[in-house]
């Protein structure tokens, strides 16, 4: 019961999905429901599987609640912030469920707080990319040096500054000409090799699970 049924479930759903994706007539197979609506059988099953994981939608809230109630109870460091988190968590979830996604207050908070926090966090990258480049691009080794020179040429090729220094119309097409060559030849070759390798590696990782050599997802006892 504890191990056998899950293994059977895995194999059954693996086969169902794989066959649907491979076999044409199966993929195009339509079923008609008693009320007359027609649906692709594949769509029907995938909707049901998605539905299954959506039912678990409160798991995240549950984990956050458990951790932060613990923080407050044991008065761990920064515990007042945990109160702040819990108030917002429940307040906003209840607001959302009552008001709906298009609700006035719900939307106001989304646009006023979530959107700016989200896009500002993303924009931290403008700074972090500078500090990462500063630390990494040293002539420590041939590799680091090469990466540095390439990044330099690409940067110059991408900006009007680079064009002003060594213009596109001059010898070798300027920074832009070299940049284009780097993008089209070594870069394309490198990424293609990485992609093909990743496919083989990832596929074998999946095969290991399919053959039952990797069963961590089922737990041990």
């Amino acid at each position: 019961m504890r191990r056998e049924i899950p293994i059977i479930l895995t194999i059954v759903f693996l086969l169902v999905r794989a066959l649907f994706e491979l076999i044409g007539p199966l993929y195009d197979f339509q079923i008609t429901f008693p009320d007359g609506t027609k649906e692709n059988l594949f769509t029907t099953i995938s909707n049901a599987v998605v539905f299954m994981s959506v039912v678990a939608l409160f798991m995240g809230m549950w984990n956050l609640t458990r951790n932060h109630v613990g923080n407050i109870r044991r008065k761990r460091e920064n515990w007042p912030y945990s109160i702040w988190l819990l108030v917002l968590l429940y307040g906003y979830a209840i607001l959302g469920i009552i008001e709906g996604m298009e609700g006035k207050h719900f939307d106001w908070i989304y646009n006023g707080v979530i959107v700016p926090l989200d896009s500002t966090t993303l924009s931290l990258l403008a700074f972090f990319i500078a500090s990462a480049a500063y630390r990494a691009f040293r002539v420590r080794s041939l590799e680091a040096g090469l990466m540095m020179v390439v990044a330099f040429i690409i940067m110059m090729g991408n900006t009007s500054l680079g064009n002003a220094i060594w213009s596109q119309t001059s010898w070798l097409g300027g920074f832009k000409g070299i940049r284009d060559w780097l993008m089209n030849v070594p870069n394309a070759a490198g990424f293609r090799a990485i992609n093909l390798g990743l496919f083989i590696g990832g596929y074998v990782a999946a095969v290991r699970v399919a053959l039952g050599l990797e069963r961590r997802y089922l737990g041990q006892d």
């Binding site: 504890r2 899950p6 293994i7 479930l9 194999i11 759903f13 693996l14 169902v16 794989a18 066959l19 994706e21 429901f33 009320d35 995938s46 599987v49 539905f51 299954m52 994981s53 959506v54 039912v55 939608l57 798991m59 956050l64 920064n78 912030y81 945990s82 906003y92 979830a93 959302g96 469920i97 996604m101 646009n111 006023g112 707080v113 700016p116 926090l117 896009s119 500002t120 924009s123 990319i129 480049a133 590799e143 990466m147 540095m148 990044a151 330099f152 690409i154 991408n158 900006t159 030849v185 870069n187 070759a189 490198g190 293609r192 090799a193 093909l196 390798g197 999946a206 699970v209 089922l218």
Partner: protein, 204 residues
């Protein structure tokens, strides 16, 4: 210069500044913003799945169209919660996990080879000019870097692999250099919000 009087714009601006304060040091403003975003996004997705998925499915499919198999899958999904219940029921969560893993694996096994096959086919291009030949040679050396067992002692593979690693570094350098402009654009967007929308300074 007309500073905005809209309270929402002010909150947006304060949120923006709170995030940037992290660059100086982790501080209470950042912490407020951080806990707020973690909480709000979690609640947002609860509301999102609730109204966008759960309720419509139940209403249209189960109630109107009588497709009762949804109930079976729904009950299976409820087993996830067993993970957090006390007592000896925790292992029940394995059922939905197994379904999820199987379903994902099926897609990997059937679909994932397709795009690499197109890449593989494109690698077989006629060697008509210098660039094609260089591309071909660089691809072969870069590929050699990922040989883990074959030709471990062969000098060809070991030298080829070393050159291959350099090719990979060129590719990574290219990606790095290209990305910088995208990342700077992100900051410019926030900056024009702060300057134009909040402080009312005409820009450009």
């Amino acid at each position: 210069m007309h500073v905005s009087t809209d309270p929402q714009v002010w909150i947006m601006a304060l949120c923006t500044l709170a995030v940037y304060s992290y660059l100086y040091k982790e501080n209470p403003f950042w912490r407020l913003a951080e806990y707020a975003l973690v909480a709000l996004y979690t609640s947002y997705s609860v509301a999102y799945y609730w109204h966008g998925y759960l309720i419509p499915r139940i209403k249209t499919y189960v109630i109107e169209r009588h497709q009762y198999y949804y109930i079976v899958f729904g009950l299976l999904g409820l087993l996830y919660y067993c993970r957090y219940l006390p007592g000896k029921v925790q292992w029940l969560a394995r059922y939905p996990i197994a379904v999820e893993v199987g379903w994902g694996l099926g897609a990997v096994i059937a679909v994932s080879p397709r795009s690499p096959m197109q890449q593989l086919a494109d690698s077989m291009r006629p060697l008509k000019n210098v660039n094609d030949v260089i591309f071909f040679l660089l691809l072969l050396t870069a590929f050699m870097y990922f040989f883990f067992t074959v030709g471990k002692k062969s000098p060809v593979v070991s030298v080829g692999g070393k050159i291959g690693r350099l090719v990979l570094m060129v590719a990574l350098g290219t990606a790095f250099g290209n990305t910088i402009q995208g990342r700077i654009s992100l900051f410019l967007q926030r900056l024009s919000f702060l300057l134009a929308d909040w402080l009312g300074i005409p820009i450009g």
